[in-house]
């Protein structure tokens, strides 16, 4: 009896603890979700920043590789970290290309010669002066050793025919064919110091302090691969606009919103469900990102020849409810993508292209008596798995069986680059770039770099698209080029050689009292990626 009582007592204690635990969870969350409690209750807001105090910005970290042009991870957070250290001839602001290392440039009448005048007194971060030889060397080195983001080649070939040093501050590039995108491409090439890199045979394995010496506004002062942390410190002898932010730190944060609320990071992406929490509070500013980041569904026509049939691709487009994806997965903070690729926020978006609203009958009609099944490869992020689930559900309605395979993001990206998939779901930025992206996505057969946006379409070639893509490249008359781009979008939408799903237009929240100079580049979706966000601007 005594034993029984003891056991009962023990049991009661355990049950009590359980009850307490549950009520604690409920209790804790009440403080977090109580709408009456203002955000200020849970935040320790920083007073207005003293002008003398150096500004330190903390952002959500994660390992994106060592920030050299050869070792960063190809996705945006990797590449843009590298660009803090390595400068280029031109830069991008809200409206377009702006002079950067090159203070001015001239284009010859035949459109084949580009002469740049470079700022004087540009210094490498190790104190040595930058010369025209360094610029020439950077181009030649990248041709020999392609960097991760590779702007020096087009269709696998280097487009610069000759580089001449004209003066101690003038350099001329000669190209073989007239091409409207060359200025942007030359302007985007990162400069690397000749005195360091000329001895490097294998840049992919070159690590250490010397590998991250550039002439950009920030020095890499800390990097920890395991923790995914970075620290960039302002370079005091920077030649250009002075850095306003003294340090940019990337710190680990398992939940970005929670970290923002705890003042651990200074910027957070929020979904539409959290808008009400920050709206109307003057301590916070919310900005909506332009829809230049998006998801698309890739068909591997080499591996699964049924996708060569246009009707099958169109059936899939009709069979996926893109509106539902936007509503459920993004909670409304996205726009259905255009089947002509250029998103609604793009300056040359063509609203007249064929659209594919969810239509079971239209899809079934196109499928006919074909039996279609495929494996859908996706990353393992929650968003991607949810998109895949909804695609599976809606395609089942039209009679297409989908088997979902989810792997981690890097494995998925690698599988796409090596064409090891049947259908793949991928998401990336860069949808707002020059309309020449249509040629890069639909008409190239040689992959440039390993960026997740630069994959080609395996097993697909369309002569009409190719011809128009080539034609727009040489068309210097803006109106005529725009017409070609519009026509191109129409054909692309009809063909759906891959299916753009939606473009995200999420929100970013920050405290303006801490820092308020965030800036979007004209073609990009994230303020923290812009170098100019951290520099003094006129």
């Amino acid at each position: 009896m005594i034993l029984k009582n003891k056991v009962f007592k023990k049991g009661s204690i355990v049950l009590l603890i359980l009850l307490m635990l549950t009520s604690m969870v409920v209790g804790c969350s009440k403080t977090a979700t109580n709408e009456d409690a203002t955000v200020a209750d849970t935040l320790e807001l920083k007073e207005t920043t003293d002008a003398e105090e150096p500004v330190i910005i903390r952002l959500t970290g994660g390992d994106y590789g060592y920030p050299t042009p050869f070792q960063h991870y190809p996705r945006g957070p990797g590449g843009y970290k590298m660009q803090l250290v390595f400068d280029s001839l031109l830069e991008r602001d809200e409206n377009g290309l702006i002079p950067w290392m090159a203070k001015e440039w001239e284009i010859s009448e035949d459109g084949l010669e580009y002469t740049f005048t470079i700022h004087e007194d540009i210094q490498w971060q190790d104190g040595k002066p930058l010369t025209m030889e360094d610029i020439q060397f950077s181009f030649e080195y990248f041709e020999k050793h392609p960097p991760v983001w590779n702007p020096v080649t087009m269709d696998g070939k280097a487009f610069v025919e000759k580089i001449e040093i004209i003066d101690k501050d003038k350099i001329r590039f000669t190209i073989s064919e007239k091409n409207v995108t060359i200025l942007e491409k030359i302007g985007d090439v990162r400069m690397i110091p000749k005195h360091i890199w000329e001895a490097i045979e294998d840049p992919d394995a070159f690590q250490g302090e010397e590998a991250v010496i550039g002439c950009g506004p920030y020095l890499l002062t800390n990097y920890n691969k395991e923790h995914g942390t970075y620290e960039f410190t302002a370079f005091e002898n920077y030649w250009g606009s002075k850095p306003v932010v003294e340090k940019i730190q990337f710190v680990p944060a398992s939940d970005e919103v929670l970290a923002f609320e705890n003042n651990e990071v200074d910027l957070a992406s929020i979904g539409s469900d959290l808008l009400a929490r920050y709206q109307g509070d003057s301590r916070f500013k919310i900005i909506q990102n332009p829809g230049f980041w998006g998801y698309r569904l890739l068909f591997n026509m080499e591996k699964k020849s049924i996708f060569k049939e246009k009707e099958v691709r169109q059936a899939i487009a009709y069979g996926i409810d893109q509106e539902e994806l936007v509503e459920k997965v993004e909670r409304g903070a996205a726009i259905v993508a255009s089947a002509g690729y250029l998103p609604k926020d793009h300056i040359w978006y063509n609203d007249g292209v064929k659209k594919y609203p969810f239509d079971v009958e239209a899809a079934k009609e196109r499928i006919g008596d074909r039996k279609i099944t495929f494996q859908l490869l996706t990353g393992n992020s929650n968003t991607e798995v949810r998109i895949a689930e909804l695609i599976k559900i809606s395609l089942k309605e039209v009679g297409i069986d989908v088997d979902i395979k989810s792997v981690d993001t890097k494995t998925r990206d690698h599988a796409i680059n090596t064409k090891d998939y049947e259908v793949a779901l991928t998401g990336h930025g860069g949808w707002g770039s020059d309309a020449d992206i249509l040629r890069e996505r639909y008409a190239t057969t040689v992959q440039a770099g390993s960026s997740p946006s630069s994959n080609i379409i395996p097993g697909y070639e369309n002569e009409e698209i190719k011809a128009l893509a080539q034609q727009q490249l040489g068309e210097t008359n803006v109106e005529k080029r725009k017409k070609i781009i519009f026509q191109l979008q129409e054909i692309i939408a009809e063909e759906v050689s891959f299916l753009p799903l939606y473009n995200t237009t999420g929100y970013t929240v920050y405290q303006p009292s801490k820092y308020d100079d965030w800036m979007y580049m004209y073609d990009h979706h994230t303020v923290s990626h812009s170098k100019l966000s951290y520099l003094q601007r006129k």
Partner: protein
């Protein structure tokens, strides 16, 4: 049967409640499709609806009924738990009997293998293997079994080592009893209760491990296990600053907690009985 009922009646109150809880989840698992009006894998309402008369436990971000998913999730958890535990105990038991019975080099090799498996850090290894084999329920069961058979193997071996020196075993051997006869007639009956304790312990371990692996994104992404429901819920951006966690996270969390606790309590009851009957069983035979 009578013996089992007798045994259950000897359980403490907590043990009995635990057994009822397990029974409840088994019923959920078996009759999941009948117990819920809505499908577990198709949207049946608006997204993220709070609990209501229509959706007792609300809906998730895709508009799928949470109650339906919980019922189906019980099936996944119980299947993973029981299958892993069964395979581990059967495999580990066989290894233990062989090692104990044959002794010598076979024992040495088998036990060194067991030691090797035991010193490998399990969770990181499971994560690596889970990622390597790809996310599916079968792979999860396989990976969990791979790391679970060692405990029963050692327990059974030590028991067999002590039994095999008994006189009746020596007599049976001298009359020409073979290995399988010995297993069937002597080793299995006497190690059965020990194996049962391991079995029960492994169930709760496997359920937690499956939830953990699914939570880390290594489970089958389209299965509706409790761990995966938690994974989806907790990955929702800023969920704790919305009301959604109150049904989307809390319900699967409570299910995992209660199931694991219930299984542990039952295991404890069986173990308690075993300890109190030590020394009595060896004289049987």
């Amino acid at each position: 049967m009578k013996k089992i009922i007798q045994r259950i009646l000897e359980f403490s109150l907590v043990g009995k409640i635990a057994l009822i809880v397990i029974g409840f989840f088994i019923v959920l698992a078996i009759f999941s499709s009948q117990l819920s009006h809505y499908p577990y894998d198709l949207p049946s309402g608006a997204a993220l609806q709070p609990p209501s008369r229509e959706h007792w436990m609300g809906t998730d971000d895709l508009g799928i009924d949470i109650w339906a998913q919980l019922c189906y999730g019980a099936r996944v958890s119980i299947m993973v738990g029981f299958t892993t535990a069964f395979l581990s105990v059967a495999g580990g038991g066989l290894v233990g009997v062989c090692a104990g019975y044959y002794g010598g080099k076979i024992d040495g090799w088998m036990m060194r293998l067991t030691d090797l498996m035991m010193i490998i850090p399990q969770l990181p290894m499971m994560i690596v293997l889970g990622a390597f084999f790809g996310p599916s329920l079968k792979n999860i069961i396989f990976v969990l079994t791979l790391f679970s058979w060692t405990a029963p193997a050692r327990i059974v071996r030590s028991k067999v080592l002590s039994i095999k020196e008994e006189k009746y075993i020596l007599v049976a051997k001298s009359y020409g009893a073979g290995f399988f006869y010995m297993i069937q007639k002597h080793f299995l009956p006497q190690t059965f209760s020990l194996m049962m304790v391991s079995f029960i312990q492994l169930i709760s371990r496997a359920i937690v491990a499956e939830a953990g692996l699914s939570f880390l994104g290594l489970g089958d992404p389209t299965s509706k296990s409790w761990g995966l429901m938690l994974n989806h819920g907790m990955a929702f951006r800023g969920i704790y600053f919305t009301d959604f966690w109150k049904w989307w996270i809390l319900f699967p969390l409570v299910c995992i907690l209660t199931m694991v606790l219930a299984v542990s309590f039952v295991g404890k009851e069986i173990e308690r009985k075993e300890v109190s009957s030590y020394g009595k069983t060896t004289t049987k035979g």
